[in-house]
Amino acid sequence: MEPEMKISKSKQGFPSRYFRMITRFVLATILFMILFLPALLIQNRKLNEVRKQPKLYRDSLYLPSGKSIRMVSVGYDRFAADLIWLRSIQAFGGHWETDRVYTPIYHLFDIITDLDPQFIDAYTFGNLVIGDEGGDQLQGLKLIDKGIVKNPLKYKLPYWGGYVAYWQLNDPELAKYYYRKAIKCPDAPSFVSRIVAYMELKSGRYRVAFEKLLRDLLEAVDQKDDVVEGIVKRRIPDILIEWHMFILRQAVQKYYQENGEVPDSLQTVQKSGAIKPYPLIVTPVLYQLVDQYRQLPGKTIDRFQSIINSATKPNVAIIPPHPRGYWYGYKPENFVRANRQEANYIIDGEKLTKEMQKTLFRLRKGIFEFHVANGRMPYTREEVLPFLNDSDEPFNGRWEYIPALGKLYSSSVPFL
């Protein structure tokens, strides 16, 4: 029997082998496409659905409480806090770009500060996000309060608290509470105490504000810090001016209540005894004493009480002298027409002079230009400044014009 001829695979025709391979490949591809294309279509449809939805930041990270994470982090709590900190920044960015709702991020900052209570940036940035950006200042302050409890010696936290309380919540009392905490911290820079002085000033505690600034001045002298000394020396007269104006306003009101008529001048008020006795700080004496003690050995701050006693005249009931050598003005018409608690019927001579200087400079420039253009001075005020009325005079005075000299001045500050 003749053996059957067997053709091995390797001996098959070259084209047929490749034909079979290609056929298999094509069939496999078609089968794959049949299965995959519908899946692709479904996927595409779902993606389009997602695209059509309003953009919302969804934090996919669920985090339990800080205490639980602290347990799980087995000692790498600082590192865990850092990771969540990075996450919180991303979450802030995500919400900022979409819905701008930041309340959910509070939880992240809460966890971070549980994991690392000394992470000061987490408190301040958290407060900024929740309070400043998110508008929930009380929630932001909650974070700050938590930080203050855990870091009682860090000035930054109460300092931020004071900022939020004053500028955002308009609560000077709360702001003072925070700033007083800040000032007690050993790392508090000197400007914090000046903020406290400002707060005291705004809440009418002039004497406290002045004493705070005087302490700053003496400390600056002891530390030979000329910059701070200069700043404080400029601020002390500001406080005294506000204090004096407050005293004068009270006196005018008292006069009005007692006599039933508006006083015509501050001298009348003084003569009637309506000025309540007050301690007068004599600034030239004050600065002289500071300079004297500066030369002596020892710290000037230790002589605080002696300086303040020597520079103060107790129980004075006169119109206070302006600490910068100007004067205090009085406008009876402002007292009548305005809210008597806040109106500008007592005027700071310095402020008045400076503002008037600017106004007169502008108006006189017009007269000068007229003179250059026409070769003569204007005959009347209206010729050069037709729209200038007496009502434009910032302190209710009158504009006076002398044609012969071509000089314009104001009755409020005639010497300018």
Binding site: M71, V74, G75, Y76, R78, F79, D82, W85, L86, I89, Q90, Q118, F119, D121, F125, D187
Partner: protein, 314 residues
Amino acid sequence: MKKTLAIAVNTFKEAVRNRILYILLVFALIIMASSGIVGELTISARDRIIKDLGIASINFFGLLIAIFVGIGLVYNELDKKTIYTIVTKPIDRHQFLIGKYMGLLLTIYINVLIMSFFFLAVIYYQSYMESDTITKALWKVGPQGSWVPPSGMEYLMYYLKSIAMSVLKSLATFTGLYSPEVSRNILKVIFYGCLELGIITGFAILYSSFSTPTLSAIFTVLSFIIGRMNADIIIFADRIKSKGLLTQGARIKYGFSWLAAHVTPNLWLFNKRNAIMEDAEVLKLDGYAICYFVLYTSAILFLAVHIFRRRNFK
């Protein structure tokens, strides 16, 4: 002592040949090098993140080396029967085990040293890469008073100089010649981390003296976790007590927690990581922690030797 040292040196040589050591080391160095990039993701506290990442990496990878290299040290000797060539020599079993421990500790500490050196260099390098520093160093005022940007070559030279200076500064910090504010307490924190690793290595040796590498790894990791949670365990015990030990169950729970808190290692003693904060005070030597390390490790090794002595190698 000579014999113990000989085994320690041999163990070190053996560990150095272990590929996993290099993988871990390279991985740690990559993570530390990338800390600058991670720092870019934050809006503040950049220095803090770089430092935290570095310290955590050194500690974590040191721990991994202790576990992965430590657990196989004794087991491999038994598995490959190489222990017979040692025990037949006039070497006591305690010398063998302590030698193994010291060798492994030497390996870990050399790795920590390399990582710390690299970490300090990264910190110094980051300070060179701050935009203000670059601007001050490279930007110049031109003839018309405008700023002239540096050329590409100037940038390249600056980067190379920064790398060289960072390495030199790192070296100077190690030798105590240079101790700037930015790296204050870092070496001390790493030192306490090394003490912690010493205890964990002791546990790795203890477990590997009587069990398989897998079990040893699990036990060592658990010891580390319990050690780090030691303070929480005693708080838990106190909480049970504060509710009143009225039932038998409560009493057992309290007793067990109290015992666990006292027997397990207190690794919190070596956690000084808060000292790397900007305004932290200079870290003082904690004699209590050092004494605790010496005593606790000795006790662990004593236990390991005791178990190992009773072991039959047949």
